[in-house]
């Protein structure tokens, strides 16, 4: 009895969470005559394939839209932002965890709080800055601005990660005659690798998901990222190509979902700020 209730509840939550994705899947592979039947027709069940599935929408998405160039643009931004974030946040996290003593904690907290300042507050001053720098409608604007979101959180992540790495290995290296700098350059990188991996993944997911800055600064269709191009540029006038739209949403979601499942625990440790001992 208890078991039944458990499965029923689990099913309920899965249905609520997964329903839009099931709907994407159906829509992406349904033929148009199966898709565009008004919901007032209670004889036509929309929850299943009434006609055989089709690849027509996928063909449209990959063949006749800018989807692939949006994927490319997204990857360019991802790589650039990952490089900047790792180069800036990893040393900062190390510094706060190992070199800054007591005030490192407060400073780390201060940097973390800037993560809470949302894009929707900053997009207006950034609009000014971007036009001053002549970066309107260019991926450069995104590459410059996205690290403002990734650096605070990733600095915090690296700092938290290093706290869980025993100090003894670095200490031993110093006893063996390494200078403090040599420890940082030769010993520490090996210890931080898992932390760096988390930073890369967090940055990747954030860039994939970002919408506000992309909407504000990118106007040419061929310069858009996936999360901007799909909802904005695949809808032309009043014509919604729902099949292709849902195919795009599905294709983009799957890699992100897999990555999230692998790294969820690390992110959570960052979000709970030590309120929970992972």
């Amino acid at each position: 009895m208890k078991r039944v209730a458990l499965y029923a509840a689990a099913l309920g939550f899965i249905a609520f969470a997964g329903f839009p994705f099931y709907w994407m899947l159906l829509t992406a592979f349904k033929q148009n005559r199966d898709l565009y039947v008004g919901a007032f027709d209670t004889q036509h069940v929309p929850w299943i394939f009434n006609d055989p599935p089709t690849l027509e929408h996928l063909r449209l998405l990959f063949g006749q839209t800018d989807f692939l160039s949006w994927v490319w643009n997204t990857l360019v931004v991802v790589v650039a932002v990952v490089v900047i974030t790792v180069a800036v946040a990893v040393p900062a996290g190390y510094s706060l965890a190992r070199l800054s003593g007591r005030w490192g904690e407060s400073l780390g907290m201060g940097i973390f709080f800037t993560y809470l300042i949302p894009p929707t507050l900053l997009f207006i001053p950034f609009a000014r800055l971007v036009s001053l720098l002549g970066l309107q409608d260019s991926l450069g604007a995104l590459i410059l601005i996205y690290p403002t979101m990734t650096i605070p959180f990733c600095t915090w992540l690296v700092m938290g990660f290093l706290r869980s790495v025993p100090w003894e290995i670095e200490e031993q290296a110093m006893i063996d005659g390494y200078s403090r700098l040599a420890v940082i350059l030769k010993v520490a990188p090996r210890l931080i690798v898992p932390g760096i991996l988390t930073v890369v993944v967090f940055t990747f997911t954030l860039v994939m998901q970002e919408f506000v800055y992309a909407l504000t600064f990118i106007s040419s269709v061929d310069k858009m990222t996936v999360s901007l191009g799909v909802p904005i540029a695949l809808v032309r006038g009043d014509v919604y190509h729902w099949g292709a739209l849902m195919a795009a949403a599905l294709v983009t979601s799957i890699p992100l979902a897999i990555v999230y499942n692998l790294f969820i625990d690390r992110f959570i440790q960052g979000f709970t700020m030590g309120a929970v001992k992972g």
Partner: protein, 299 residues
């Protein structure tokens, strides 16, 4: 005798050097724009021209007299509170389910996390299709089940559109909250729970008297992030309703975007966005208190 330490051994020098780029980035590209956001709200700055003059509180006077702004402020509060209440209920319930081992749990967890992993804008476009005025599967299902006799224009009716926005916001945040609550549950000392069982406390008593009070700080963290993510979110409303019909579902971020970026009135857009600050200040203060509280509790 103490050997003179070279700079390569001075932790303060190395620490400052390694921290400097991050501090510079945050100060220049978060700190300065943040101050500028507030400064712009007192100016008549417009996109396209770089000159601007001070206009005092004129922008604030204008928006406070504007019914659309007042409505967007109210909508922001309604959507934030409404969705977070749903999130807390759903997340604590889901955490109770997902703490137990059952067949297919890995797959269930994968599905549960999907709403959090998918980009907001793509989720919003999927929900736009789900709530479509002609093809809504929600309407079909309600109608076939005999629960609906008329027709629901989800995104065309101001009240229903707000309900739809709340559902989507709760949907995309509750998985995140669930995982945080789960992490909290696993950190409750097992002895406390066992002692309660020995003393004869049943499931509900255990839940409300022991676990929920102990979980409070963790649930608070989830809610605080939830508030920030919902109150400051542009994508869901922008894509789902575009603030319509007739500006009835505008929230602060969409209105700031419409006036500031699309309408080129940076000053007024900035003034609207500044009203997000109270939400953020409340969250930041609560988080700081929470952090101090848990630290004290740990010692």
């Amino acid at each position: 005798m103490i050997a003179r330490r070279s700079w390569a051994d001075r932790e303060d020098v190395l620490g400052a050097a390694m921290l400097a780029p991050a501090l510079a980035y945050v100060l220049l590209l978060v700190g300065v724009p943040f101050v500028l956001a507030i400064a712009l709200s007192f100016s008549n700055a417009a996109a396209g021209s770089l000159s601007f003059g001070w206009v005092g509180a004129q922008n604030y006077a204008a928006i406070l007299a504007d019914p659309i702004f007042l409505r967007s402020l109210r909508n922001t509060a309604i959507v934030t509170v409404g969705s977070q209440v749903l999130v807390v209920v759903l997340a604590t319930a889901a955490a109770q389910v997902f703490r137990v081992a059952f067949r297919g749990k890995r797959f269930a967890r994968f599905v549960l996390l999907l709403p959090w992993a998918v980009p907001v804008s793509l989720a919003a476009i999927a929900w736009t299709w789900i709530f479509d005025s002609t093809f809504s599967v929600v309407n079909w299902t309600l109608k076939t089940a005999g629960l609906l006799h008329g027709w629901l224009y989800w995104l065309g009716d101001p009240g229903l559109a707000l309900v739809a926005i709340i559902i989507v916001q709760a949907w995309r945040i509750f998985p995140f909250a669930t995982v945080i609550v789960l992490a909290g549950l696993s950190s409750i000392p097992q002895e406390v729970v066992e002692a309660a069982i020995v003393d004869g406390a049943g499931f509900w008593r255990r839940l409300f008297r022991i676990e929920l009070p102990l979980l409070l700080p963790v649930v608070a963290v989830a809610v605080l992030f939830g508030v920030v993510y919902t109150a400051t979110d542009l994508g869901v409303v922008y894509i789902l309703t575009g603030g319509g019909p007739a500006n009835t579902t505008q929230v602060l971020p969409t209105l700031a975007f419409q006036r500031g970026i699309q309408g080129s009135d940076l000053g007024q857009g900035a003034a609207i966005a500044v009203f997000l600050l109270p939400f953020l200040v409340v969250v930041a203060v609560a988080m700081l208190r929470l952090a101090r509280h848990t630290e004290v509790g740990a010692k």
